[in-house]
């Protein structure tokens, strides 16, 4: 537990020092959302109908963009090997790294999404659901994505491959996340969607740390 807290603090401090790494996904998110009205149409009614999907897809891509960095820095300076050698369970240490990724990417994206929702004239009443579904969903995205990041961390050009591996696995989260916002707009029940997002997160929390640990071992030793 002490080791987990120490890893958590170290990673948080490390990431906060290099601010651009934290800010870049947010800027990317805003930029992608800006592209859609330019590319499709500035018509508010049209934008409002596609806004939930757009916001979710853009946030998902922004989270994906920052995924490669979860283990990359530690791999290059050798501290990942030290984590592997430490007597603490690797799954727990990996989980703390994923938690940092979510705190600095998923959570800010979720908080920023309502702002971009206003720009896409997202109907009122769905902003809270948007932020909540993104906060819940992006935690699963971080967990699933970290498996891919751990598998590709040893490869020099793992970036494109990483998205190829991870994006198919993101589909359920996307469906229920965007579905929750859609349901909130149409006035239907949101609880079911959010409950399934929570269930996906619970399942990912149980299985993903072990898959991440196994993948890290492969990347270091293999």
């Amino acid at each position: 537990m002490v080791a987990v807290r120490a890893t958590l603090r170290r990673d948080l401090v490390l990431r906060m020092r290099g601010r651009s790494e934290v800010l870049n996904p947010l800027v990317f998110f805003a930029l992608v959302i800006t592209l859609f009205p330019l590319g499709i149409s500035p018509d508010p009614t049209l934008l409002a109908t596609i806004a939930p999907g757009l916001l979710w897809v853009a946030a998902l891509l922004a989270a994906l963009l920052s995924l490669d960095g979860v283990f990359r820095g530690d791999f290059e300076d050798g501290s990942l090997e030290q984590l592997l050698l430490s007597p603490q369970p690797l799954a727990a240490l990996a989980l703390s790294k994923v938690a940092v990724h979510w705190l600095l990417t998923g959570l800010p994206l979720a908080l920023m999404a309502p702002l971009l929702g206003i720009m896409l004239s997202l109907p009122a009443g769905s902003y809270g659901v948007l932020a909540l579904s993104l906060a819940l969903g992006s935690a699963s995205l971080s967990l699933i994505g970290a498996i891919g990041a751990a598998l590709t961390v040893g490869l020099s050009r793992g970036g494109v491959l990483l998205s190829l591996l991870v994006l198919p696995l993101y589909i359920p989260v996307l469906i229920f996340g965007a579905g929750a916002v859609q349901a909130a707009i149409q006035g239907g029940g949101v609880a079911a969607h959010l409950a399934i997002l929570g269930a996906l997160l619970a399942a990912a929390l149980i299985f993903a740390p072990f898959a991440i640990a196994a993948s890290l071992r492969i990347s270091i030793n293999g």
Binding site: I147, L161, L164, I171, I175, A214
Partner: protein, 246 residues
């Protein structure tokens, strides 16, 4: 019994034993596909709604069956490889992946061709089509990941992990896509809601499915055997075998 299993697990033993299985498997595959194919394409009655175009089912359904089974088989082989470090399991998994991707493509393509006369469109965001497409991407990911590693062992283990992660996710993806579809639009077209087929239609289909499975096992066996020779090419028994053939 245990001695036999041990012999089966070693590349050399497997190579010797599997030689006996190859011919019967090829014969069974050829016979089943030939009989099922001619029966289905030429003799079974035409569908009263779809006419002759329904005969694509005799390629489409077996390919779709195989596409899903091969992924499960690949993940199972990956599990065996990761747990018991049996190299043979990884060789089989490596040989299955391209075949599975090919079968998924055949299922998608034949589905698209079938879609034109029945639905009037090449592509429909139907739940089954969509989950099949995602399965295709998963196959591509496994193949690409294996290829990206410089060391064969690293690639093998990474591909095994990804196949296992994928096989846990396939049911989740399948059901979420089905749910998504029902949320967005009513199920206009469904393969399952077709009236039950008479025996003259489904018997050839059953033969085709069995034939495809035999074909898959035979191809995997053959490719695994040549992979054994390739990976073990520096071993003495392979050299002796080559000398013998010469």
């Amino acid at each position: 019994m245990w001695a036999f299993i041990h012999k089966l697990g070693s590349p050399k033993g497997f190579y010797a034993i599997s030689a006996r299985w190859l011919t019967p498997l090829w014969l069974a595959a050829a016979a089943l596909i030939l009989i099922g194919g001619t029966w289905g394409l030429a003799f079974s009655p035409a569908d009263y709604q779809q006419g002759d175009s329904f005969r694509i089912i005799y390629v489409h359904v077996p390919a779709a069956f195989l596409a899903q089974s091969i992924f499960v088989a690949m993940a199972a082989a990956g599990f065996v490889f990761m747990v018991w470090k049996i190299k043979l399991a990884d060789m089989a998994a490596a040989m299955m992946a391209p075949l599975g991707a090919g079968m998924t493509f055949v299922a998608l393509f034949s589905g698209a061709v079938w879609g034109v006369p029945t639905w009037g469109t090449w592509w429909q965001w139907d739940a089954r089509l969509t989950s099949m497409l995602i399965l295709f991407f998963l196959y591509i990911g496994v193949i690409a990941l294996r290829g990206a590693f410089a060391s064969r062992d690293g690639g093998a283990r990474a591909a095994s992990v990804l196949a296992m992660v994928g096989v846990i996710n396939i049911p989740i993806i399948k059901y979420s896509v089905e749910w998504w579809y029902t949320l967005h639009q009513p199920a206009t077209f469904s393969i399952t809601s077709k009236p039950a087929m008479p025996a003259a239609m489904w018997l050839p289909l059953l033969l085709m499915v069995l034939g495809f499975y035999c074909f898959f096992i035979a191809v995997t066996l053959m490719r695994t055997r040549s992979e054994i020779l390739r990976r073990e090419s520096s071993k003495r028994w392979v050299r002796a075998l080559v000398e013998e053939q010469r």
